[in-house]
Amino acid sequence: MPEAGSPGGKPVAFRGGGFAPRPVGFVGPIVFVAVILLWEAGSRTGYISAIVLPAPSQAAIAFWELVTSGLLFKHLSASLYRLIIGWTLGMALGLAVGFAAGLFSLARAGLVPLVSALFPIPKIALLPLFIIWFGIGEESKVATILFGTFFPTVISTYGGVDNVDRGLVRMGQSFGMSWWSIVRKIILPGAMPAILSGARISASIAIILLVAAEMIGAEHGVGAYVLMAGNLMATDQLIAGVAILSCLGLTVGWLIGRAEKILLRWRG
């Protein structure tokens, strides 16, 4: 109906909007619960055979046995010890080498090709070497995780250093700031976003490598538990162990998210 003042016009069709996903908090948990319920229903009705995949309730029972026997604590503490030591050392060395490659031409020319050559080697393939070098004690397990986290840290760190706005570095120089001050107050914070997203990746790699590391004659550890369950075809225990690893990953991801919130507060 044409109104007064708009003789015979039609509204312009809307064609904007979209392309802006919003966070919808409750959907994630619902999907989780729905998948587990479907799975449980499938197992109960016999649609999913117990040999193929144990019911979630079976896995929960296996998990509960771990809790009551006190083994959960032993497995978790052994694994966390290896994860924390290996990841911390790998990050520390990776940061040092990454900064060197980001700041010095010679270090870059020498180290970057080496890192590119060694990064893609599956660390599992090197396990026999690690055993020869470090024995079958904790050292070789920690070393596996260390090597796995070292390379991605180097790459993300020197990428981060490269991406720091050179205008800010020039500003620092123009005010007579010392080299060390520029590195500490301009380059390090500027590279922090890249370093933290590298930490996210290297933490996941550390958890992936935990199972490999605990292949080396480990008595306790979540990875060792999963391997043992696999060897015995105890699929309920296997699922329980895998769920623990998954929760470990979620926790670490959440912790790094917190660190990002605090360290990158300035990004708003």
Partner: protein
């Protein structure tokens, strides 16, 4: 320490603490990047307490010249001479103000100012006194806890000016400081700079491509030709800065004269391929 007393003694009189006995002489500078000659035989004096504006078509090497003056880059030939000593309290005699502000996004306003004092031997109390003083002088005190992302472009540049004032420079090197701002903010900041000059009588080398800024701020305007940049002309404007608002017609005339000088160069520069 004479520094503290100098600062607190600032009452806005004529010939304040900025009045150093330091001139800059740019002596026969030529420079090329690879095969590309960017500057050729630039000879220029920046006398104390004056604002020297350098204008020229884009790509004529004005910003390069400014980087030479502050020692951020080395010219192929010639050098920049400092005649006389910088005042004793000056922490950083040659201080830049950048077009893109160059504020650290992870530091608040006051920490950005404090950054450039941290490498100097100052007590914590003296340092925060300087920070408070310059923030007050640039009317930023109530924003001292804000992060750069929360500020408008004009406020960011005010922070950069405060940061420059904090190190008591002998000469300010300004590289198109207003070019990243919208025209209204630019007008406001131009007034701020004029007011600051009236109070502090600082020495400055002001690079711009904006002729209106040059005739409002410059005691002396150096016109560079297009690449390779040579000095085409030096124009002195003898109207005191404070009175220029009242001589619009005269300024307009000066601006027109500058434009006539530059017009063809600008046209030619516009049609050049850039690869620098």
């Amino acid at each position: 320490m004479p520094r503290g007393s100098r600062r607190l003694g600032d009452t806005g009189g004529t010939r304040s603490k900025w009045a150093s006995e330091m001139d800059l002489h740019i002596a026969g500078i030529s420079h090329r990047y690879g095969d590309l000659q960017v500057l050729s035989d630039i000879d220029l004096k920046i006398p104390e307490s004056q604002i020297v504006c350098i204008i020229g078509p884009s790509g004529c090497g004005k910003s390069t010249l400014l980087r030479f003056i502050g020692g951020l880059e080395r010219p192929e030939r010639g050098n920049v001479l400092q005649i006389g000593e910088a005042p004793r309290g000056s922490l950083n005699p040659l201080t830049y103000i950048f077009q893109d502000f160059a504020l650290l996004p992870w530091r608040t306003v006051q920490d950005n100012v404090s950054l450039v004092l941290e490498d100097h031997r100052l007590g914590a109390r003296e340092r925060s006194a300087i920070v408070d003083d310059v923030l007050r002088r640039t009317k930023l005190s109530e924003f001292k806890g804000a992060f750069p992302r929360q500020l408008s472009g004009g406020m960011k540049q005010r922070v950069a000016i405060a940061r420059a004032l904090a190190v008591s420079p002998a000469c300010l090197l300004m590289d198109e400081p207003l070019s990243a701002l919208d025209s209204q903010t630019r007008e406001l900041l131009l007034d701020d700079l004029l007011e600051l000059w009236e109070r502090e009588r600082f020495t400055a080398c002001y690079v711009t491509h904006n002729l209106a800024e040059a005739v409002r701020l410059g005691h002396r305007i150096v016109v560079l030709s297009r690449r390779p940049g040579r000095i085409r002309d030096v124009i002195e404007i003898d109207i005191p800065l404070a009175e220029r608002v009242r001589h619009q017609a005269k300024l307009q005339e000066q601006q027109q004269q500058l434009w006539n000088l530059m017009r063809e160069e600008a046209l030619a520069a516009d049609q050049e391929l850039t690869d620098a």
